[in-house]
Amino acid sequence: MTVTVEVSPRQLSGWGRTMPTTSLVSRPVDAASVALAFRSQPGGVIARGLGRSYGDAAQCSGGLTIDTSGIADIGVLDEASGTIAVGGGVSLHDLMRRIIPLGWFVAVTPGTRHVSVGGAIAADVHGKNHHRDGSFARHVAEMTLVTPTGIVTVSPDADRELFWATAGGMGLTGVVISATLRLIPIETSWMLVDSQRFTHLDDLMSTMEATDGQYRYSVAWLDCIGHRDGTHRSVLTRGDHAPSGAIPDRLRGRSREIPGEPRMRVPRTAPRRLVNRMSVRALNEAWFRASPHSVGSLHPLAGFFHPLDGVGDWNLLYGPAGFVQYQFAVPPERGDVVGEAVGAIASSGVPSFLAVLKRFGPGTPGPLSFSQEGWTLALDFPLGPPGLPALLDGLDEAVSHAGGRVYLAKDARLRPDLLPVMYPGLPDMAAVRRRVDPEGLLGSDLSRRLGMSG
């Protein structure tokens, strides 16, 4: 039987909507048609899930982009082992809708449900429970990859090098067509949440260090604009899955409610740019005021983990020029870099909405896997302020000096010479790639920009 794959040219960009490039796009539905795509593609090949990486990781200018949304089978949940086999193109949204009613949840969820399993592995995503449970790949029992040299199933025990090079490997080792995920049992789809406000960054960080261990999930939101007296307001939100006993009678019927579709959507014709210094200040103010101290309040799971999923296409709020995300991690003893970054942003006058601070537990052996023990700060900036490129270059310096790194799934502008400093395991990654992709077929705009190809 002849397998054919339809391809058509399409302009693609990441969630930040910067750097659009055009490639052929194919949408294979099985491993055989993915394998076929690797034949004679001099322009390079990269997989693309739901396009939620912010920069240029899931596009391949002048080459072929493999849209994995057709590889979306969800297998049968194995209740005994708490595992489920899913296609690489399955979204966490669809997976959650399947497993929550059965009393299970994914072990790690990022800030959006709209990522594919393959993308979650390729970026080795983390969630609010990283300090306890580590990153996404820690909970992958095994996965099947289509590489240019064949179809292989790998796990931390079988071809460990390829498994870990794929975890966080930004798709550069092959296309994940299926994965077996270890799930966690939950009694309800509700969260018991404690919320605290702080006016000093030091207080926030020492509270997180001292008591994060008491919660499965923990994250802090910072107001980066800052105040004249040098203080930075923040809200610390921590919680756990609510046991069924914690659900009041009025919510009994909704105890295993599944996350829904977005309630509203930003129109394609959104005005030039709604995110600016004034609106960010107003939103930060409103958020802070709306977050009083509270203990044990009950929140639906979707609102706790994925607040932005309630608004479809929220990236359009940044206007046609788009935005960049910047997330870095530094070792535990270098929490000072967080303060330095927040100070630099406040004094630069560049608005940053939704600065998110979190503590990371130990990282993984993945040479390109982002998470490392310590602190991580995520920031986003609308494109436009003239000082922004230099501000971020300065942060790169501080982060790499501190033994830290930036998150490639969000990157759109890192200085290429700092990549090997931030990711010292890069030669191991290159060795695995030479083995599974000797002709260097796999590549993305990100890998070319950062000099990772060939």
Partner: protein, 253 residues
């Protein structure tokens, strides 16, 4: 590749001795740029500029061609793009000549040459560049036009009309390339103090080439289709364009 701020890693300059283009390259070299190709007529001047650049850019090549000669434009452009050694992220089209209006206007050979170097050749080059960047899937094209193109006037109508042709061509090309990953940025500087304008009386809002260069780099960052330099000229010329001819004739500069 370009980064999110429109900083290219690989640049090809057509008209490599242009002071504005050289200043743009100098700014980009301080950022992510690692490969530059300078194409142009004067080999000695190109090599001199290349030697300067080699302090900060890993790979610098020069390609010699003459926009006024009947060479195969496609071959010329592909020689330049191939010299980059990687995908070309930005092409700067800076070929052009100001001429000497009063002497030129009575010399049909000179008129033809002015139109060739300022419009015919750049337009042909742009069509080759656009096709190449489309194959690559991405790339920016900066086209040096002029405020003189926005409303042509007595004192430099040969140059102005040729630039007006190029300006319109580039704007149309930019529209044609929407959604392809390739972008066109038309630059309309006012009076720029360069060797090209040396000895001429400066017009109001005169700027140096470094100012124009920084406006261009900023325009790439914000994705502007038209970049005025200085920016105020956008408003000045919006009004000047509406003036009745009898008044326009009397505007100094």
């Amino acid at each position: 590749m370009n980064d999110a701020f429109g900083h290219p890693q690989s640049v090809v300059v057509l008209g490599g001795t242009s002071e504005i283009a050289q200043q743009v390259v100098a700014l980009l070299a301080a950022d992510r740029c690692r490969s530059v190709v300078l194409g142009g007529r004067d080999h000695v001047k190109l090599e001199h500029a290349a030697a300067e650049l080699r302090h900060s850019v890993a790979r610098v090549k020069t390609v010699t061609f003459d926009a006024a000669a009947s060479e195969d434009t496609e071959k010329t452009i592909m020689r330049c793009c191939d010299a980059a050694g990687e995908a070309v992220d930005l092409v700067i089209v800076a070929v052009g000549e100001l001429g000497l209006q009063e002497a030129d206007e009575t010399d049909p050979e000179r008129v033809a040459r002015m139109v060739t170097v300022n419009f015919t050749w750049p337009a042909a080059a742009l069509s080759v560049v656009a096709a190449h960047l489309r194959r690559q899937g991405h790339g920016g094209i900066v086209v040096l036009s002029s405020v003189a193109a926005y409303r042509v006037r007595r004192s430099n109508y040969i140059y102005g009309s040729a630039k007006a042709g190029l300006d319109g061509f580039a704007l149309g090309l930019g529209e044609a390339l929407r959604g392809t990953g390739v972008t066109v940025h038309v630059v309309r500087p006012g009076f720029v103090r360069t060797k090209m304008t040396a000895g001429r009386p400066a017009a109001p809002f005169a700027v140096g080439p470094e100012q124009v260069a920084s406006d261009i780099v900023r325009g790439l960052q914000t994705g502007r289709a038209v970049i005025w330099s200085p920016g105020v000229l956008k408003w000045v010329f919006t009004i000047l364009r509406l003036l009745p001819q009898a008044l326009w004739r009397r505007v100094p500069g």
